[in-house]
Subunit: 192 residues, 2 copies
DNA sequence: GTTGACATACCGTCCGGCCGGTATAGCTTT
DNA sequence: AAAGCTATACCGGCCGGACGGTATGTCAAC
Protein backbone atom coordinates (compact mmCIF):
# COMPACT_ATOMS: atom_id res chain seq x y z
CA UNK A 1 0.00 0.00 0.00
CA UNK A 2 1.60 3.18 1.19
CA UNK A 3 -0.73 5.16 -1.00
CA UNK A 4 -0.96 8.65 0.28
CA UNK A 5 1.36 11.58 -0.01
CA UNK A 6 -1.17 14.30 0.45
CA UNK A 7 -1.94 15.04 -3.17
CA UNK A 8 -2.40 11.85 -5.16
CA UNK A 9 -5.71 11.19 -6.88
CA UNK A 10 -7.49 8.47 -4.97
CA UNK A 11 -7.22 5.89 -7.78
CA UNK A 12 -4.42 3.36 -7.82
CA UNK A 13 -1.47 3.74 -10.13
CA UNK A 14 -2.46 0.89 -12.37
CA UNK A 15 -5.78 2.43 -13.25
CA UNK A 16 -4.25 5.84 -13.58
CA UNK A 17 -1.77 4.50 -16.12
CA UNK A 18 -4.51 2.85 -18.13
CA UNK A 19 -6.55 6.04 -18.12
CA UNK A 20 -3.52 8.09 -19.05
CA UNK A 21 -2.75 5.87 -22.02
CA UNK A 22 -6.30 6.18 -23.23
CA UNK A 23 -6.27 9.93 -22.80
CA UNK A 24 -3.07 10.30 -24.77
CA UNK A 25 -4.40 8.35 -27.72
CA UNK A 26 -7.60 10.33 -27.70
CA UNK A 27 -5.89 13.67 -27.46
CA UNK A 28 -2.77 13.17 -29.52
CA UNK A 29 -3.20 9.98 -31.52
CA UNK A 30 -1.73 6.52 -31.51
CA UNK A 31 1.85 7.45 -32.47
CA UNK A 32 2.16 9.62 -29.39
CA UNK A 33 1.35 6.84 -27.02
CA UNK A 34 4.78 6.00 -25.71
CA UNK A 35 5.64 4.45 -22.39
CA UNK A 36 7.28 7.65 -21.22
CA UNK A 37 4.32 9.76 -22.22
CA UNK A 38 1.88 7.44 -20.50
CA UNK A 39 4.01 7.38 -17.38
CA UNK A 40 4.28 11.16 -17.30
CA UNK A 41 0.57 11.60 -17.83
CA UNK A 42 -0.15 9.15 -15.04
CA UNK A 43 2.29 10.81 -12.70
CA UNK A 44 4.70 7.93 -12.37
CA UNK A 45 8.15 7.29 -13.74
CA UNK A 46 8.79 5.07 -16.68
CA UNK A 47 10.23 2.47 -14.37
CA UNK A 48 7.09 2.68 -12.30
CA UNK A 49 4.96 2.03 -15.33
CA UNK A 50 7.05 -0.94 -16.29
CA UNK A 51 6.59 -2.31 -12.86
CA UNK A 52 2.85 -2.55 -13.45
CA UNK A 53 2.96 -3.41 -17.15
CA UNK A 54 6.06 -5.29 -18.11
CA UNK A 55 5.86 -4.24 -21.75
CA UNK A 56 3.93 -1.99 -24.04
CA UNK A 57 2.05 -5.01 -25.22
CA UNK A 58 1.01 -5.83 -21.68
CA UNK A 59 -0.31 -2.31 -21.27
CA UNK A 60 -2.32 -2.48 -24.46
CA UNK A 61 -3.58 -5.89 -23.60
CA UNK A 62 -4.87 -4.65 -20.27
CA UNK A 63 -6.46 -1.69 -21.97
CA UNK A 64 -8.25 -4.00 -24.31
CA UNK A 65 -9.40 -6.32 -21.61
CA UNK A 66 -11.01 -3.39 -19.90
CA UNK A 67 -12.71 -2.32 -23.11
CA UNK A 68 -13.99 -5.79 -23.92
CA UNK A 69 -15.48 -6.19 -20.50
CA UNK A 70 -17.05 -2.76 -20.64
CA UNK A 71 -18.61 -3.35 -24.03
CA UNK A 72 -19.86 -6.75 -23.11
CA UNK A 73 -21.46 -5.54 -19.93
CA UNK A 74 -22.91 -2.45 -21.54
CA UNK A 75 -24.59 -4.44 -24.24
CA UNK A 76 -25.91 -6.99 -21.79
CA UNK A 77 -27.52 -4.21 -19.82
CA UNK A 78 -29.06 -2.71 -22.94
CA UNK A 79 -30.41 -6.13 -23.76
CA UNK A 80 -31.94 -6.64 -20.36
CA UNK A 81 -33.72 -3.33 -20.47
CA UNK A 82 -35.72 -4.55 -23.45
CA UNK A 83 -38.73 -6.85 -23.38
CA UNK A 84 -38.14 -10.28 -24.89
CA UNK A 85 -39.43 -11.02 -28.33
CA UNK A 86 -38.12 -11.28 -31.87
CA UNK A 87 -35.38 -8.83 -32.71
CA UNK A 88 -34.48 -8.05 -29.16
CA UNK A 89 -30.74 -8.10 -29.73
CA UNK A 90 -31.05 -5.98 -32.84
CA UNK A 91 -33.24 -3.52 -30.99
CA UNK A 92 -30.67 -3.37 -28.24
CA UNK A 93 -28.00 -2.44 -30.75
CA UNK A 94 -30.19 0.20 -32.23
CA UNK A 95 -30.93 1.60 -28.82
CA UNK A 96 -27.32 1.40 -27.89
CA UNK A 97 -26.26 3.48 -30.85
CA UNK A 98 -29.17 5.76 -31.60
CA UNK A 99 -31.38 6.07 -28.57
CA UNK A 100 -28.84 7.70 -26.32
CA UNK A 101 -27.69 11.26 -26.42
CA UNK A 102 -25.24 12.08 -29.13
CA UNK A 103 -22.71 13.08 -26.52
CA UNK A 104 -22.92 9.76 -24.76
CA UNK A 105 -22.67 7.79 -27.97
CA UNK A 106 -19.65 9.81 -29.03
CA UNK A 107 -17.96 9.38 -25.70
CA UNK A 108 -18.29 5.61 -25.82
CA UNK A 109 -17.24 5.60 -29.43
CA UNK A 110 -14.12 7.62 -28.80
CA UNK A 111 -13.04 5.61 -25.81
CA UNK A 112 -13.43 2.41 -27.74
CA UNK A 113 -11.71 3.81 -30.79
CA UNK A 114 -8.67 4.94 -28.86
CA UNK A 115 -8.05 1.53 -27.34
CA UNK A 116 -9.00 -0.19 -30.50
CA UNK A 117 -6.65 1.68 -32.78
CA UNK A 118 -3.72 1.66 -30.42
CA UNK A 119 -3.94 -2.07 -29.88
CA UNK A 120 -4.53 -2.84 -33.53
CA UNK A 121 -1.53 -0.86 -34.57
CA UNK A 122 0.77 -2.64 -32.18
CA UNK A 123 -0.52 -6.09 -32.99
CA UNK A 124 -3.86 -7.01 -34.53
CA UNK A 125 -3.98 -10.15 -32.43
CA UNK A 126 -4.50 -7.96 -29.38
CA UNK A 127 -8.04 -7.40 -30.58
CA UNK A 128 -8.96 -11.00 -29.91
CA UNK A 129 -10.81 -10.23 -26.68
CA UNK A 130 -13.24 -7.83 -28.34
CA UNK A 131 -13.43 -10.10 -31.32
CA UNK A 132 -14.85 -12.66 -28.95
CA UNK A 133 -17.33 -10.16 -27.58
CA UNK A 134 -18.37 -9.08 -31.05
CA UNK A 135 -18.82 -12.69 -32.06
CA UNK A 136 -21.19 -13.07 -29.14
CA UNK A 137 -23.13 -9.98 -30.15
CA UNK A 138 -23.31 -11.18 -33.68
CA UNK A 139 -24.57 -14.54 -32.57
CA UNK A 140 -27.21 -12.86 -30.44
CA UNK A 141 -28.31 -10.66 -33.33
CA UNK A 142 -28.40 -13.53 -35.80
CA UNK A 143 -30.55 -15.76 -33.63
CA UNK A 144 -33.04 -13.44 -32.05
CA UNK A 145 -35.97 -14.40 -34.22
CA UNK A 146 -35.74 -11.84 -36.98
CA UNK A 147 -35.83 -12.76 -40.65
CA UNK A 148 -32.28 -13.65 -41.73
CA UNK A 149 -30.06 -10.73 -42.56
CA UNK A 150 -32.23 -8.11 -40.93
CA UNK A 151 -30.49 -8.08 -37.59
CA UNK A 152 -27.07 -8.12 -39.21
CA UNK A 153 -28.05 -5.14 -41.33
CA UNK A 154 -28.78 -3.18 -38.19
CA UNK A 155 -25.56 -4.29 -36.55
CA UNK A 156 -23.52 -3.42 -39.62
CA UNK A 157 -25.13 0.00 -39.78
CA UNK A 158 -24.18 0.71 -36.18
CA UNK A 159 -20.65 -0.45 -36.88
CA UNK A 160 -20.58 1.82 -39.88
CA UNK A 161 -21.43 4.82 -37.76
CA UNK A 162 -18.68 3.79 -35.39
CA UNK A 163 -16.15 3.67 -38.17
CA UNK A 164 -17.35 6.84 -39.78
CA UNK A 165 -16.78 8.66 -36.55
CA UNK A 166 -13.40 7.29 -35.61
CA UNK A 167 -12.00 8.18 -38.99
CA UNK A 168 -13.81 11.47 -39.21
CA UNK A 169 -15.69 10.46 -42.34
CA UNK A 170 -19.12 11.65 -41.41
CA UNK A 171 -21.35 12.16 -38.45
CA UNK A 172 -25.10 12.22 -38.25
CA UNK A 173 -26.97 15.25 -37.02
CA UNK A 174 -29.92 14.82 -34.67
CA UNK A 175 -32.42 14.64 -37.51
CA UNK A 176 -30.40 12.13 -39.42
CA UNK A 177 -30.04 10.01 -36.33
CA UNK A 178 -33.78 10.00 -35.91
CA UNK A 179 -34.41 9.26 -39.57
CA UNK A 180 -31.93 6.45 -39.66
CA UNK A 181 -33.40 5.01 -36.52
CA UNK A 182 -36.81 5.04 -38.13
CA UNK A 183 -35.48 3.43 -41.28
CA UNK A 184 -33.71 0.63 -39.44
CA UNK A 185 -36.71 0.10 -37.22
CA UNK A 186 -38.59 -0.99 -40.31
CA UNK A 187 -36.28 -3.97 -40.45
CA UNK A 188 -37.30 -5.05 -37.00
CA UNK A 189 -40.96 -5.53 -37.76
CA UNK A 190 -42.17 -8.81 -39.19
CA UNK A 191 -41.76 -8.76 -42.94
CA UNK A 192 -44.92 -7.37 -44.50
CA UNK B 1 10.80 10.39 -69.17
CA UNK B 2 13.69 8.25 -70.31
CA UNK B 3 11.92 5.12 -69.27
CA UNK B 4 13.64 2.06 -70.54
CA UNK B 5 16.88 0.49 -69.51
CA UNK B 6 16.37 -2.98 -70.84
CA UNK B 7 15.45 -4.73 -67.62
CA UNK B 8 13.03 -2.62 -65.65
CA UNK B 9 9.60 -4.10 -64.98
CA UNK B 10 7.31 -2.33 -67.40
CA UNK B 11 5.80 -0.06 -64.75
CA UNK B 12 7.54 3.12 -63.74
CA UNK B 13 9.32 3.38 -60.43
CA UNK B 14 6.83 5.76 -58.94
CA UNK B 15 3.95 3.36 -59.36
CA UNK B 16 6.07 0.45 -58.24
CA UNK B 17 6.88 2.27 -55.03
CA UNK B 18 3.25 3.05 -54.39
CA UNK B 19 2.29 -0.55 -55.01
CA UNK B 20 5.10 -1.77 -52.82
CA UNK B 21 4.01 0.41 -49.93
CA UNK B 22 0.48 -0.87 -50.23
CA UNK B 23 1.66 -4.44 -50.39
CA UNK B 24 3.75 -4.07 -47.27
CA UNK B 25 0.90 -2.69 -45.24
CA UNK B 26 -1.39 -5.44 -46.43
CA UNK B 27 1.07 -8.19 -45.74
CA UNK B 28 2.83 -7.00 -42.63
CA UNK B 29 0.82 -4.15 -41.17
CA UNK B 30 1.22 -0.42 -40.80
CA UNK B 31 4.20 -0.41 -38.43
CA UNK B 32 6.28 -2.28 -40.98
CA UNK B 33 5.81 0.32 -43.65
CA UNK B 34 9.14 2.09 -43.53
CA UNK B 35 10.84 3.95 -46.30
CA UNK B 36 13.57 1.36 -46.51
CA UNK B 37 11.12 -1.50 -46.64
CA UNK B 38 9.07 0.18 -49.35
CA UNK B 39 12.19 0.93 -51.35
CA UNK B 40 13.43 -2.64 -51.07
CA UNK B 41 10.07 -4.07 -52.04
CA UNK B 42 9.92 -1.77 -55.04
CA UNK B 43 13.44 -2.65 -56.08
CA UNK B 44 14.96 0.77 -55.58
CA UNK B 45 17.24 2.22 -52.98
CA UNK B 46 16.03 4.41 -50.21
CA UNK B 47 17.56 7.38 -51.91
CA UNK B 48 15.72 6.44 -55.06
CA UNK B 49 12.47 6.41 -53.21
CA UNK B 50 13.16 9.77 -51.68
CA UNK B 51 13.83 11.12 -55.11
CA UNK B 52 10.21 10.41 -56.04
CA UNK B 53 8.61 11.09 -52.68
CA UNK B 54 10.45 13.64 -50.68
CA UNK B 55 9.09 12.41 -47.36
CA UNK B 56 7.04 9.65 -45.89
CA UNK B 57 4.15 12.01 -45.76
CA UNK B 58 4.44 12.69 -49.46
CA UNK B 59 4.36 8.98 -50.14
CA UNK B 60 1.27 8.46 -48.03
CA UNK B 61 -0.38 11.46 -49.54
CA UNK B 62 0.15 10.12 -53.02
CA UNK B 63 -1.16 6.75 -51.92
CA UNK B 64 -4.26 8.39 -50.65
CA UNK B 65 -4.79 10.46 -53.74
CA UNK B 66 -4.75 7.29 -55.76
CA UNK B 67 -7.25 5.67 -53.45
CA UNK B 68 -9.59 8.63 -53.45
CA UNK B 69 -9.63 8.79 -57.19
CA UNK B 70 -10.15 5.08 -57.51
CA UNK B 71 -13.05 5.04 -55.08
CA UNK B 72 -14.65 8.05 -56.64
CA UNK B 73 -14.43 6.64 -60.11
CA UNK B 74 -15.53 3.19 -59.07
CA UNK B 75 -18.62 4.52 -57.42
CA UNK B 76 -19.45 6.77 -60.33
CA UNK B 77 -19.32 3.77 -62.62
CA UNK B 78 -21.54 1.75 -60.32
CA UNK B 79 -23.96 4.64 -60.33
CA UNK B 80 -24.04 4.92 -64.07
CA UNK B 81 -24.75 1.25 -64.52
CA UNK B 82 -28.04 1.72 -62.70
CA UNK B 83 -31.24 3.16 -64.13
CA UNK B 84 -32.24 6.53 -62.73
CA UNK B 85 -34.97 6.72 -60.15
CA UNK B 86 -35.34 7.11 -56.40
CA UNK B 87 -32.63 5.43 -54.37
CA UNK B 88 -30.20 5.12 -57.20
CA UNK B 89 -27.17 6.12 -55.15
CA UNK B 90 -28.16 3.81 -52.32
CA UNK B 91 -28.67 0.96 -54.73
CA UNK B 92 -25.27 1.67 -56.20
CA UNK B 93 -23.70 1.32 -52.76
CA UNK B 94 -25.54 -1.88 -52.15
CA UNK B 95 -24.44 -3.22 -55.49
CA UNK B 96 -20.95 -2.03 -54.87
CA UNK B 97 -20.69 -3.93 -51.62
CA UNK B 98 -22.94 -6.93 -51.98
CA UNK B 99 -23.55 -7.65 -55.63
CA UNK B 100 -19.98 -8.43 -56.54
CA UNK B 101 -18.10 -11.56 -55.76
CA UNK B 102 -16.85 -11.87 -52.24
CA UNK B 103 -13.31 -12.00 -53.53
CA UNK B 104 -13.65 -8.77 -55.42
CA UNK B 105 -15.27 -6.99 -52.50
CA UNK B 106 -12.53 -8.19 -50.18
CA UNK B 107 -9.81 -7.14 -52.54
CA UNK B 108 -11.13 -3.61 -52.79
CA UNK B 109 -11.71 -3.51 -49.10
CA UNK B 110 -8.19 -4.60 -48.26
CA UNK B 111 -6.57 -2.20 -50.66
CA UNK B 112 -8.52 0.66 -49.27
CA UNK B 113 -7.90 -0.39 -45.68
CA UNK B 114 -4.16 -0.57 -46.14
CA UNK B 115 -3.88 2.94 -47.48
CA UNK B 116 -6.45 4.20 -45.09
CA UNK B 117 -4.83 2.90 -41.95
CA UNK B 118 -1.30 3.81 -42.90
CA UNK B 119 -2.26 7.37 -43.70
CA UNK B 120 -4.43 7.75 -40.65
CA UNK B 121 -1.70 6.59 -38.38
CA UNK B 122 0.80 9.05 -39.72
CA UNK B 123 -1.55 11.98 -39.72
CA UNK B 124 -5.35 11.90 -39.71
CA UNK B 125 -5.43 15.00 -41.88
CA UNK B 126 -4.07 12.92 -44.74
CA UNK B 127 -7.51 11.38 -45.04
CA UNK B 128 -8.99 14.64 -46.24
CA UNK B 129 -9.10 13.59 -49.89
CA UNK B 130 -11.26 10.54 -49.22
CA UNK B 131 -13.24 12.52 -46.71
CA UNK B 132 -14.19 14.74 -49.60
CA UNK B 133 -15.14 11.76 -51.71
CA UNK B 134 -17.17 10.23 -48.91
CA UNK B 135 -18.93 13.54 -48.39
CA UNK B 136 -19.91 13.46 -52.03
CA UNK B 137 -21.19 9.91 -51.74
CA UNK B 138 -23.12 10.82 -48.68
CA UNK B 139 -24.66 13.78 -50.40
CA UNK B 140 -25.64 11.59 -53.31
CA UNK B 141 -27.21 9.02 -51.03
CA UNK B 142 -29.04 11.61 -48.97
CA UNK B 143 -30.62 13.31 -51.96
CA UNK B 144 -31.54 10.51 -54.29
CA UNK B 145 -35.23 10.55 -53.57
CA UNK B 146 -35.50 7.99 -50.81
CA UNK B 147 -37.30 8.64 -47.57
CA UNK B 148 -34.90 10.38 -45.19
CA UNK B 149 -32.53 8.09 -43.34
CA UNK B 150 -33.07 5.09 -45.57
CA UNK B 151 -30.17 5.72 -47.88
CA UNK B 152 -27.88 6.55 -45.00
CA UNK B 153 -28.82 3.31 -43.30
CA UNK B 154 -27.64 1.42 -46.34
CA UNK B 155 -24.45 3.43 -46.58
CA UNK B 156 -23.70 2.95 -42.90
CA UNK B 157 -24.27 -0.78 -43.21
CA UNK B 158 -21.77 -1.00 -46.06
CA UNK B 159 -19.29 1.00 -44.05
CA UNK B 160 -19.88 -1.34 -41.16
CA UNK B 161 -18.96 -4.33 -43.27
CA UNK B 162 -15.85 -2.48 -44.35
CA UNK B 163 -14.81 -1.85 -40.79
CA UNK B 164 -15.69 -5.32 -39.64
CA UNK B 165 -13.40 -6.73 -42.24
CA UNK B 166 -10.42 -4.47 -41.81
CA UNK B 167 -10.34 -5.14 -38.10
CA UNK B 168 -11.16 -8.81 -38.44
CA UNK B 169 -14.33 -8.51 -36.42
CA UNK B 170 -16.65 -10.51 -38.62
CA UNK B 171 -17.23 -11.42 -42.18
CA UNK B 172 -20.41 -12.47 -43.89
CA UNK B 173 -20.74 -15.80 -45.60
CA UNK B 174 -22.46 -16.02 -48.99
CA UNK B 175 -25.85 -16.69 -47.44
CA UNK B 176 -25.52 -13.84 -45.03
CA UNK B 177 -24.52 -11.53 -47.79
CA UNK B 178 -27.60 -12.49 -49.72
CA UNK B 179 -29.84 -12.13 -46.69
CA UNK B 180 -28.48 -8.79 -45.75
CA UNK B 181 -28.84 -7.61 -49.30
CA UNK B 182 -32.46 -8.62 -49.24
CA UNK B 183 -33.01 -6.90 -45.91
CA UNK B 184 -31.45 -3.64 -47.02
CA UNK B 185 -33.31 -3.80 -50.31
CA UNK B 186 -36.49 -3.41 -48.34
CA UNK B 187 -35.32 0.06 -47.42
CA UNK B 188 -35.07 1.03 -51.05
CA UNK B 189 -38.69 0.47 -51.89
CA UNK B 190 -41.17 3.24 -51.29
CA UNK B 191 -42.34 3.07 -47.72
CA UNK B 192 -45.38 0.79 -47.54
C1' DG C 1 28.19 19.03 -69.83
C1' DT C 2 24.10 19.24 -67.82
C1' DT C 3 20.20 16.96 -66.07
C1' DG C 4 17.35 13.12 -64.55
C1' DA C 5 17.25 8.99 -61.94
C1' DC C 6 18.92 6.84 -59.00
C1' DA C 7 22.76 4.60 -55.19
C1' DT C 8 25.57 4.85 -50.73
C1' DA C 9 26.76 6.47 -46.50
C1' DC C 10 25.69 8.74 -42.67
C1' DC C 11 23.40 11.50 -38.76
C1' DG C 12 20.22 12.67 -35.03
C1' DT C 13 16.37 11.30 -32.68
C1' DC C 14 13.24 8.65 -30.42
C1' DC C 15 11.46 4.64 -28.23
C1' DG C 16 11.14 0.20 -25.88
C1' DG C 17 13.08 -2.26 -22.55
C1' DC C 18 16.50 -3.42 -18.78
C1' DC C 19 18.98 -2.52 -14.53
C1' DG C 20 20.49 -0.97 -10.28
C1' DG C 21 18.90 1.43 -6.60
C1' DT C 22 15.56 2.74 -2.64
C1' DA C 23 11.99 3.64 0.69
C1' DT C 24 8.37 1.56 3.13
C1' DA C 25 5.35 -2.04 5.15
C1' DG C 26 4.80 -6.28 7.13
C1' DC C 27 6.46 -10.56 8.98
C1' DT C 28 9.61 -13.25 11.64
C1' DT C 29 13.12 -14.49 14.56
C1' DT C 30 15.38 -13.94 18.72
C1' DA D 1 10.92 -5.12 21.49
C1' DA D 2 14.71 -4.73 18.64
C1' DA D 3 16.80 -6.56 14.62
C1' DG D 4 16.81 -8.72 10.47
C1' DC D 5 14.46 -10.34 6.13
C1' DT D 6 11.43 -10.07 2.26
C1' DA D 7 8.09 -8.25 -0.89
C1' DT D 8 5.93 -4.20 -2.84
C1' DA D 9 5.96 -0.13 -5.34
C1' DC D 10 8.28 2.60 -7.28
C1' DC D 11 12.60 6.03 -9.42
C1' DG D 12 16.16 7.43 -12.86
C1' DG D 13 19.50 6.38 -16.08
C1' DC D 14 21.16 3.93 -19.80
C1' DC D 15 21.58 1.14 -24.22
C1' DG D 16 20.69 -0.82 -28.58
C1' DG D 17 18.14 -0.60 -32.56
C1' DA D 18 15.33 1.41 -35.90
C1' DC D 19 13.67 5.08 -38.68
C1' DG D 20 13.23 9.50 -41.18
C1' DG D 21 15.82 12.49 -43.54
C1' DT D 22 20.21 14.65 -45.62
C1' DA D 23 24.28 14.97 -48.15
C1' DT D 24 27.08 13.34 -51.57
C1' DG D 25 28.44 10.37 -55.36
C1' DT D 26 27.49 8.11 -59.98
C1' DC D 27 26.30 7.36 -64.52
C1' DA D 28 23.69 6.93 -68.65
C1' DA D 29 21.02 9.84 -71.95
C1' DC D 30 20.43 13.86 -74.39
Amino acid sequence: MARDHASTPATDARTRILDAAEAIVRARGVPNLTLEAAAREAGVSKGGLLYHFSSKEALLSALLGRLAEFVSQDFTEALERLPPGPGRAARAMLAWGLEVSEAEANERCDRAAAVFLAAFHHDPALLDPIRAVVARLREAVATDGLAPGHGMAVMAAMDGLFMARIFGMYELGPDERRDMHAALSRLLDPVP
